[in-house]
């Protein structure tokens, strides 16, 4: 047997066993959580508006993203902006996933999951922090929200704050609509916005 054959046989003696990885991965996620090195845990959940990425730090939910926003790109942005210690670890997202499930089932009107606001700052954060005041099933215009945030003329900045909301659905930027009653733009796409508004008006 020559060395090339032996090398090939070695490969066969120690084959790739990707099927063994999920159990090891789950163990790693749990150990990292205990170890305090799991800076960002994430999971994806299926919803009526498509798969949503949920990511949380130890402080709370830091990111919700639609498939249209490209989950890989969103995770890379989290690695760049917060920490690259990012592991798929659904356990930390249990509460967020449960509350979103209830919301999409029409049995939840407000979210209680702790939020980590570190991706928002300044006026944008001030705008986003006021959005939960627009009640479930209600809508407000961009101008209304600008007034609510204390800067009535900053209508365009409210639009930017909504367009860059790191926590869509949970922080209800979908309830901010155009003054003429049209739904207006949405980071998850206009269909997702309509679906959420329809869901809330039906419940």
């Amino acid at each position: 047997m020559n060395t090339t054959d032996l090398a090939r046989e070695l490969g066969q003696a120690f084959p790739d066993t990707p099927g063994d990885l999920p159990a090891l991965h789950a163990r790693l996620a749990a150990a990292a959580q205990r170890d305090g090195t799991l800076d960002i845990a994430y999971t994806t959940i299926d919803t009526p508006v498509g798969p949503l990425l949920l990511a949380a730090t130890g402080r709370g939910l830091i990111r919700v993203a639609y498939a249209a926003q490209d989950h890989d790109a969103v995770l890379q942005a989290l690695a760049d902006q917060v920490s690259p210690r990012i592991v798929r670890a659904p356990a930390r997202l249990d509460q967020a996933a449960r509350e979103l499930g209830e919301y999409f089932a029409g049995t939840r009107r407000a979210f209680g999951v702790p939020l980590d606001w570190s991706l928002s700052a300044g006026f944008r954060r001030a705008v986003l922090a006021r959005l939960p005041e627009i009640g479930y099933g209600a809508t407000a215009s961009y101008a209304d929200v600008a007034a609510l945030a204390g800067s009535p003329r900053a209508v365009r900045a409210v639009g930017t704050a909504c367009a860059t909301n790191p926590l869509p659905v949970v922080v209800p930027c979908h309830r901010v609509v155009r003054a003429d009653g049209a739904a207006g733009g949405y980071l998850g796409g206009p269909e997702a916005k309509r679906a959420l508004l329809t869901l809330e008006s039906a419940a």
Binding site: L10, Q12, F14, D16, R85
Partner: protein
């Protein structure tokens, strides 16, 4: 500056290779623990890893250190035994049921040869990278791998002959 990918991407890209290396160097019984400890250590250190580092070589380096820890712990557990087994044979003890096959033969090689073979042939590292992990020169790593391969070939040839003799 090149962006550093989320650690999850590192596990996805290198998880199976590191598992193969752990199995080859430690045997199946200790491989899972070594894999978990390797990736937990790697996660801790990940923010400080240079973005242009060879991630696979870095992971194998960590796995190598974990394997040494596991081997030492196993040696401590085995201390009260009067006849201490030869270095290099103890960690492969759980391969014994596989006697005669390649995995078993590899487990009985001296550690340096076993490591050189695993890191070069299974992890695909060059001999300079192997040497950086195990110590010594690249030439010494190449010789260790060649000696190990020669010994494996002799072992397997002997097995093949005795198996044919049984017919």
């Amino acid at each position: 500056m090149r962006a550093k990918p989320p650690f999850e991407a590192v596990v996805a890209a290198h998880g199976t290779t590191v598992l193969r290396v752990c199995r080859a160097v430690l045997g199946p019984a200790d491989a899972d623990d070594a894999w978990s400890e390797t990736f937990l250590s790697a996660l801790r250190a990940y923010p400080d890893l240079p973005a242009d580092a060879n991630v696979e070589a870095w992971l194998v380096t960590i796995a190598h250190r974990r394997a040494i820890d596991v081997t030492r712990a196993a040696a401590r557990r085995a201390l009260p035994v009067a006849d201490v087994p030869e270095a290099g044979t103890a960690p492969g003890a759980d391969h014994r049921e596989l006697d005669g096959d390649l995995a078993g033969a590899l487990s009985r090689l001296p550690p340096r040869q076993k490591q050189a073979i695993a890191y070069h042939y299974l992890a695909g590292l060059g001999y300079a990278e192997v040497a950086a992990i195990t110590g010594g020169t690249a030439d010494a790593a190449r010789r260790a791998a060649a000696d190990g391969i020669a010994r494996l070939r002799r072992t397997l040839a002997a097995v093949t002959i005795s198996a044919e003799g049984c017919r």
